[in-house]
């Protein structure tokens, strides 16, 4: 029997990592491993996403536990940042500098040539406005400058903190395409957001954070699998929702129903049984049904379960 090859080391890992600021908890007992590809970091404001990313990029030292990036402690070994690009959530500029000069300066700190900084400026679509002062830039342009300085050195690990903030829909799409491009070239992209559909659009691999704790790690389906003990939700639309709700309550596995504007929201621990038996019930009772849809597989639903645990 041929032994299976050893599992490659993760690009980034947290081992019981915690961070607190005085009495305020930033992150508690986080243990996760992050591999290549795009990983979404999801949680509401104050969940600990920025603390997570700052620990990952060596800007903070864990109060407890261990953080590794490309195999080393990023706080103790700043040299690892030569392979990391970071887009901070907040605007961090010298406003009187031009976008081009700013990106050149920061790229220079990476040991990156000017020409490369200029290419990054072009790549984010700021070539024509690159010589204008940053103080004249719109929110979306500022995001592009931050992105340019993060990608100028073609990093192996790209860390983006709320990158879509302030971007118009077209720019959002382009930003997501850019992440995919990095993914295709074997890079690791770690992106945070508090907007669920944004993360859904960017990646299927998710780390869910809430109140400083890692609540779940995995694909949407894997996370959903962890939550089998929680009821799945199915929405059934009908012009006679009350009659329909009465019938649905008799189905096996259904633990509750809720009426909402022409719809019945069904909580069930056995969704397959509902799907199997619902058509027959509808026919027997003569109840009209306009549509059936699962509400569970959206990150909204998963997140809702997790934060109320």
């Amino acid at each position: 029997m041929i032994p299976s090859p050893p599992e490659p080391p993760p690009i980034a890992s947290f081992e019981h990592a915690a961070k607190w600021y005085g009495h305020v908890i930033g992150l508690v007992d986080a243990t996760v491993k992050i591999g290549p590809g795009v990983t979404g970091l999801l949680g509401p404001n104050g969940a600990g996403k920025s603390t997570f990313l700052k620990l990952l990029t060596g800007q903070l030292q864990p109060s407890q536990g261990e953080v590794r990036l490309l195999g080393v402690d990023p706080f103790a070994k700043p040299s690892v940042h030569a392979q990391v690009g970071f887009l901070p959530e907040q605007d961090a500029f010298y406003e009187e500098m031009s976008g081009r000069a700013f990106v050149r300066f920061l790229a220079g700190l990476q040991g990156c040539p000017r020409a490369r900084a200029d290419e990054a400026i072009e790549r984010v679509g700021l070539a024509s406005a690159g010589n204008r002062k940053i103080r004249t830039y719109s929110k979306g342009m500022r995001q592009r400058v931050k992105l340019a300085q993060a990608i100028a050195h073609d990093p192996r690990v790209l860390v983006l903190d709320e990158p879509l903030t302030g971007m118009d829909p077209v720019a959002r799409r382009q930003m997501i395409d850019l992440m995919r491009d990095f993914e295709r070239r074997g890079a690791t992209v770690i992106v945070s957001s508090h907007i669920l559909h944004e993360v859904e659009a960017m990646t299927d691999r998710v780390i869910l954070l809430y109140q400083g704790r890692v609540r779940a790690v995995g694909t949407r389906e894997e996370i959903r699998g962890l939550l089998d003990r929680h009821p799945h939700q199915i929405r059934v639309r009908s012009p006679r929702p009350r009659d329909l709700a009465r019938v649905l309550l008799d189905l096996p596995g259904v633990v509750g129903v809720r009426l909402d504007d022409g719809s019945v929201h069904v909580d069930t621990s056995d969704p397959e049984a509902v799907y199997d038996r619902l058509p027959a019930c509808v026919l027997e009772e003569g109840l009209p049904v306009d549509g059936i849809e699962a509400e569970d597989m959206g990150l909204d639903a998963i997140f809702g379960y997790l934060v109320t645990k």
Binding site: Q59, L60, A82, P88, L106, P113, D181
Partner: protein
């Protein structure tokens, strides 16, 4: 303005930590400071005026030695057989003290405070540079301007000293005075850089840092003079960082004539106390800087 993936060419080079990251930080900080008009004015005025004044004095003192009227003036002012270069440097020290504080407030005090205010620290510390590179870069930028004020005019004075000297060996003969005067300038640069960056690391608003440094300088000067006078103990003068440097300058550049009442009063301060005061102030600035920037974990 699309984010253009098609035109993007993957970089085939290899990113490495910049070996001289501190120089890059210093260069950018200097460029940004030079955009401030008052900084440009102070640097220009002191470089041009001090150099011009020195030129005139040297011209009158050294080239006019053959003229009986000039010789009479030299005798009257007691400049005969004295080291003119040392006197000029001492006069320069007296004139420059206040402005060194002003320049330190303008070019040193804001540099870290403005980074904190602009939330620029994450951009620095998510790069392959350490805290030492960052502090060194900022210190070099402040030291650059202070050196323009405190050292470059001395070099100009020495240059003119040589240019106008009669004796062929003047460059070598006057070298010790020149080196001592540069040492005085370097001590001033180190002190004001350390103090201004230490203060800068305490604030998030550049203006507050600058005002605090100016206020601190004024308060310490007044307090030291008051305590030395009331308690009749010149050792209290060491409370003032500027007094310490000035007293050291008197020791390094002795001249046999009185240049001012302040100089006469300062001579009562023991040189050992002055060195101790100087070391304490410089160390305090560095200590605060190290403590604050080491603890600047980027929490925004």
């Amino acid at each position: 303005m699309p984010i253009d993936i098609a035109s993007y060419r993957a970089w085939e080079g290899r990113a490495r930590p910049a070996p001289l990251a501190a120089l890059g930080i210093a260069a950018t900080t200097i460029r940004r400071r030079l955009r401030i008009r008052i900084v440009r004015i102070i640097v220009f005025v002191f470089l041009v005026v001090s150099t011009g004044a020195a030129a005139l004095v040297f011209y009158g003192t050294l080239t006019g030695r053959g003229d009986p009227r000039v010789q009479e003036q030299i005798r009257r002012f007691g400049f005969e057989n004295v080291d003119v270069l040392a006197i000029l440097n001492r006069l320069f020290d007296i004139a420059i003290g206040f402005w060194a504080f002003v320049l330190a407030a303008l070019v040193g005090a804001p540099v870290i405070a403005e980074d904190r205010r602009a939330r620029a620290l994450p951009l620095y510390f998510s790069r392959p540079i350490g805290h030492i590179d960052y502090v060194l870069g900022k210190a070099m930028s402040a030291a650059f301007f202070l050196a323009l004020l405190l050292i470059v005019p001395r070099i100009a004075m020495y240059g003119m000293d040589i240019a106008f000297a009669d004796a062929k060996g003047a460059a070598w003969d006057h070298m010790p005075t020149f080196l001592r005067s540069c040492a005085v300038g370097a001590l001033g640069v180190a002190l004001f850089t350390s103090l201004s960056l230490g203060v800068s690391s305490l604030f998030e608003r550049p203006a507050y840092a600058a005002l605090f440094l100016l206020g601190l300088g004024a308060l310490l000067s007044v307090t030291s003079l008051f305590l030395a006078d009331v308690l009749e103990s010149p050792g209290w003068l060491a409370l003032s960082p500027y007094a310490c440097v000035h007293r050291i300058a008197i020791d390094l550049l002795p001249v046999p004539i009185g240049l001012s009442d302040d100089t006469a009063a300062l001579e009562k301060l023991g040189i050992g106390t002055a060195w101790t005061g100087y070391a304490a102030w410089t160390a305090l600035g560095l200590f605060v800087l190290t403590l604050r920037v080491r603890r600047v974990e980027v929490v925004t």
